[in-house]
């Protein structure tokens, strides 16, 4: 199920949380939203889910304006930034709530997942640990056979084992059912493994939104060595993110215009000139370095 957001702007009392965000999540994509705390990720997700109304702009899920049409939500699974529950509700009450709410509920899938996690059914939901909450959410959201999964920082605060389990099950779901996934995360490495599209938000603005494949193709490093010094202007192009020089060897991180720059450099008779792949982390460090310190959080393992 496709998501199309157009010019989303959200202003709260004093603050503008989102500024003209437009993005498209293609059908079947695993779309990662990344950005430091306070960038507006949760606000964006709440607007996509129809929980908040944008000040300007629109968002369509599967072609429907989600704020008006509640029925589309029958095919959407949602994991909020923190778990909310009814007091006095037990795990089995949550099962019942979801089972009876969603028409496409699959008892087989539910049983399958239930066996995997083996959660105590008579436990009060408020007594569950964060890890168990996540497991409960997985069971509930996957058993309803969603076409779209919207996950707000689902792995935050989880220990590595549960985190890994979560991502495994998510990938299994995507592989088996082609579910579209929209996931916001703090962890770049996680994103790189799991997502095929990415969007970066910072202070309410969308910095980048593209498929990982395109990104990795466009943003690469040129490693070259020259006998003589290189004139500075050659490297002062807008597409050049970063230049490191050790002796005669230059390491040039390029965001745009890779081939043109390479052609230009070849005119200076390099001793060697290679293209090197660069990790997402490096792209981030160089690209976001200018945008502010906040991005150090994303580079946590």
């Amino acid at each position: 199920m496709k998501i199309v957001a157009d010019g989303l702007t959200k202003t709260f009392r004093e603050k503008t949380a989102l500024k003209e965000i437009s993005l498209t999540v293609p059908q079947g994509a695993v779309f990662g939203l990344v950005g430091p705390n306070g960038a507006g990720k949760t606000t964006l997700i709440k607007i996509i889910m129809g929980l908040l109304q944008p000040t300007r702009g629109s968002v369509l899920i599967g072609g429907q304006p989600v704020h008006q049409d509640h029925r589309i939500k029958a095919r959407v699974g949602y994991l909020a930034d923190y778990q909310r529950y009814y007091p006095g509700f037990k795990v089995k009450d949550m099962y019942r709530l979801y089972r009876e709410t969603y028409q496409k509920w699959s008892p087989e899938r539910f049983e399958e997942l239930r066996q995997v996690f083996n959660l105590p059914e008579n436990a009060q939901v408020k007594h569950l640990s964060k890890g168990m909450h996540t497991q409960l959410s997985i069971i509930l959201n996957l058993a309803l056979k969603p076409e779209l999964l919207v996950l707000d920082e689902p792995t935050a605060g989880l220990d590595p084992v549960i985190r890994r389990q979560f991502l495994s099950i998510l990938m299994d779901e995507v592989a088996e059912n082609g579910t579209t996934v929209f996931i916001s995360t703090h962890h770049l490495h996680e994103l790189e493994r799991v997502c095929d599209h990415l969007a970066i938000v910072h202070e309410g603005r969308l910095i980048k939104s593209e498929s990982l494949e395109d990104l990795k193709k466009k943003v690469r490093k040129i490693q070259a060595a020259f006998a003589g010094p290189l004139p500075a202007e050659v490297l002062q192009k807008p597409g050049v993110l970063n230049v490191e020089q050790t002796g005669r060897v230059y390491s040039i991180t390029v965001e745009e215009g890779l081939d043109e720059l390479a052609a230009e450099l070849r005119q200076f008779q390099p001793l060697f000139l290679d293209f090197v792949d660069i990790s997402l982390e490096e792209i981030f460090i160089h690209r976001m370095g200018g945008e502010g310190y906040g991005f150090k959080q994303i580079l946590a393992p």
Binding site: V30, S168, L170, M171, A175, V194, S279, E282
Partner: protein
Amino acid sequence: MFHIDQRSSTPIYQQLVQEVKAAILRGVLLPGDRLPSVRELASRLAINPNTIQKSYQELERQKVIETLRGKGTFVCLDYQVREDEERMDLFQNSLRKILVEAHYLGLNQERILALVSKQLEELGIGEGTR
């Protein structure tokens, strides 16, 4: 079975290609062995299935593995270890870099060749191995 280093700058799909090949080389995977399905591997490694798919496609292109409809993906029985011009260029480039590095480590030709022999021995690449 396959180890993916997410901090490496090598794209994940490429790492997986190399891992599969290394596994075959080491004898962990034998010709005719069934590989995990895209779904299984995506789940096991927590990696996007498209990436796995890409790796498998590349491996198929290189005729290392083949997919039999309805049965699964298998290591080719008659995998031809052969030269491929494009990969040869890449390989020679990598080799050159390593040799430059070796030189600056203070290794002479004799030492380099000794190290190479040792590695070949450990990997089981003998004189006649194909």
